[in-house]
Symmetry: C2
Subunit: 246 residues, 2 copies
Amino acid sequence: VNVIALTVEYDGTRYRGFQVQHVGPTIQEEIESALARLMGVPIRIVAAGRTDAGVHATGQVVSFGTTRAMPVTVIQRALNAHLPSDIVVTDVREKPSDFHARFSARHREYRYSICNRRIRPVIGGQYVYHVSRHLEVNSMAEACEHLVGEHDFASFAGTGSGDRPSSTVRTLRKAICDRHGDLVTFDLEANAFLPHMVRNVVGTMLLVGTGRLRAEQVRDILCRRDRRFAGQMAPARGLCLTHVTY
Amino acid sequence: VNVIALTVEYDGTRYRGFQVQHVGPTIQEEIESALARLMGVPIRIVAAGRTDAGVHATGQVVSFGTTRAMPVTVIQRALNAHLPSDIVVTDVREKPSDFHARFSARHREYRYSICNRRIRPVIGGQYVYHVSRHLEVNSMAEACEHLVGEHDFASFAGTGSGDRPSSTVRTLRKAICDRHGDLVTFDLEANAFLPHMVRNVVGTMLLVGTGRLRAEQVRDILCRRDRRFAGQMAPARGLCLTHVTY
């Protein structure tokens, strides 16, 4: 069996998320259907991150096994011809037979983007969350530092749609908040993320950025290990899976 | 009569252009209909740049006269409530009674954006033109310099949809080509632009960037004053009216 890894970019706006659901189109269905047309047999893929409905990706990784030998350039060209205009395969590689897009991943990186101005955004509006109240980026950057390291992130864990994780301990390697004009970004990297974790962290950071919470209180929220103490989940449209490290 | 100027941002993807046409929705219609709802009477607007179908704007300026006295903040809030999600008013100002968005404008600035990678773009794909062949930005930047100054731009003049301009002489104040990763941008500023001028200039630059034309040949094309010598018009999706100076 040959194991193939695809790097995939998608605009998640019109999808019900990555994973196959009962209702509505998913990224997984589109990729599996393009693969089935190419390979002539049904193929099941696994993904590094099962992104929610409306979440985007520039660096999602999926893998699958096949008995057919086919050059990676042929696979890429054929898939991109079959895939809809909001999904594209940016890279195709042959992998060792024990490679698994989800279980072999060592780190995932997400970016959350906020348009922070009084007026609603128009250009690129589907990739940002609009916050009209001014955000104090320095306070949010300071609050982010309290989350870096190995912690029990139960306070930031959503229930998600999948299986409940057995442990809520994760190692956050990076949590950076920055501003470029009206654009406020959060870049978070961890060994793995709990369901809705990035969006719950961002929702909590917004309380800090608007002065309703002090930066050091984020540390207390983390220690509580109780979802009720963190902020409201930020919307899906601002979130993007940017990179997976193996 | 009070004269009001609006700065407008729009995603031109689903419009037939700025100006009212026989078929299909236009930016002008949307703004005039929002103004009519607010003011209770039909209002005719004029724009600094009559952008073509599919062209975007972050800094379009429109003006109109009204006998109603209304605070600019009220006008802005009401218009943005009435306008569709792909059009937004980012600024409203009272102007002297002789102000005219088109005739008072001293300079217009446009940006043209190209996604220069092998794979088709997905995130933000409606704001860029996809060119898969590698573009030599240094050559294009050099070629741009030949166009700066007061020249007869007849070689780059399209027929457009409006009246034929009486003269094809324009003063190009700035023509800069730059690369940021896969993104190649052209920033052009002139006293005014001929119909399709930016897109015809970019189409010609692409011949330079792919080595089919030497940078200095752009100077010859300019001197010919004949549309047949310049490159093909680049598509509308990459073009954005970014700023108008008064």
